[in-house]
Amino acid sequence: MFEYFLLQVLNGLVTGLIYALIAAGLTIIFSVLKIVNFGHGALYMVGGYAGYYAIQLLGVPPILAVLVAMAATFVIGVIFERVMLTPLYTDKVDRKDEYAIIVTFALFMVLENAAIVVFGPFNKRPPSFAEGAVHVGLLTITYDRLVAAGLAALLLIALSLFMQRTSIGQALDAVSQSRDAAAIIGIDAKRMFAIAFGLGAALAGGAGALIAPIFSLSPTMGDLPSVQAFVIVVLGGMGSVPGSIVGGILLGIVEGLGVGFYPDANRALAYSNAFGALLLIITLLVRPTGLFGRQHLRME
């Protein structure tokens, strides 16, 4: 029993790191642009497929395919931001929250359904990062999970360093704190918006490519992780990358345990997906505007 518990915790830790990656992307977009990206789950899915096709068609090694996926979703993110989100920075749009909700939701619709058309509705599974598994006592952990968790952790560390140590990272931080003050010291806010959305999309895409060998790819794979990412972002604090890392791992573990130990096995399977959504509802009931309240949320 204890080993089963441990296995659920370990599996939860792996998915938690992936969630954290998705949530970190959502957080960056939220803190810099002050919008919630409802298309985030679809970008995660696109990243998974980009990695798959990089391996299958271009013969890229699986680990490098993660970088290809990130590059692809970065480009999609920047294009979407340039074409659809620029009106947000002017007075052309009143009620910017609503505008952002609608167009990012439309992004979700377009990407998910385009994926069904282009990639087909059936599941696809890219080759493993590494075949085989580690056995410790009765526990079995596949190398895929270990590699995915390791790469996710590496990406999260790289992200933290990028945000703290590079001039672009600091400029993103400055814009997220005050657009006007950032402009005064010569930071081009528009460039930062594009970078932030692209970076957020790339993190989601990278997560998609990492998870692909573990759970296979499908056009609707992004539906639930996006809800999970919303939970983490709301729970872990807006704009806080470390907060989303801790929140992601916690959620992954809680979910793994919840599904593993739900009394009625039949229902547990059906309700496994409701877990994140329920947590989101409870979090919002307790903290209706997230941790930082309304001022943090409004577009300037």
Binding site: I35, R95, N113
Partner: protein
Amino acid sequence: MPRRSPVQIWWLVPIVAALALPPLLNSYWLHVISVSWYYAILAASWALLAGYAGQFSFGHMAFAAIGGYASGLLAVDLRVPVPLGILCGFVAAGIVGAAIGWLCLRMRGPYLSLFTLAFALIFQLILIAEYQFTRGSLGLSVPGLFAGRSDTPYYYTGFILLLVSLSAMIFLLRSRVGIFLRALREDEDAAEACGIDTSLYKILVFAITSAVAGLAGGFYGHFVGILTPNLVTIPEMGLVVAMAVVGGVESLSGAVVGAVFVYVLSEVLRDTGQMRFVVLGLLIMLTQRYAQNGLWTLALGRGSRLSWRKPVTRAVEPEAAATAVERETNVG
């Protein structure tokens, strides 16, 4: 206001046209237009909730499903007469709607969208998991509202339900309540500061629009004869959002026109499979980007001025803000 009277007469044209249409349609298009009445009721009530009151709910389809399933289960399990069942579904959806409105009183903007999205997701999973009541993904077969196989009575019933609910909602918006709802959208704090009971109106608008959605769901269930959890999926919600946005999210009649237009378009594109949702998604983006008040408003010649207007000043006096909006938008 006297200048409104010609507009009202003008509205008789599409109503008469819709009433005279069935004999000219083949059975396929008669069915399509009848279903589009269902979507039109949903899109108009969502436009009231999201466009007017500013409560961007993604849970609207769940309320349609509550109405549909409540009425369907009453008819199947308790042999309740169908019209009474639809009425019960209407009331049930209204009550749940009020409860959801109460629960998200403190939530705003995207948080409310997230909350309602999660609610719809869980509701869909309940419909699937509790199969001993709902028959799960197989779907619940429900008796028809009318005997016989003709769609014509459903066409007229749907259209009358649409007219009644639309008139009721427009009547509401032209009353004082409509002004309060717009004040709620423009600035909840300022409205509250002016002594508007924002909590009351938020719960009220959720209750009313959810009840209307439940009515639509009840009609739909007894029309097509089967209810499935697919009623609550994200693509269905996307369809309704597309309808309202394309028609003009701040105009209820625009949403109705948008609903019929989008649904007919999606039927025309049915052979393209999922591609039609790609087209609809792009249509939403383009409409939002270039004609925020919808193509319908644009077609009426009011769009160009509206779409690029400066934001309404966040006035401390919500009546003033609301009248400023009223000057520029059309209540109908």
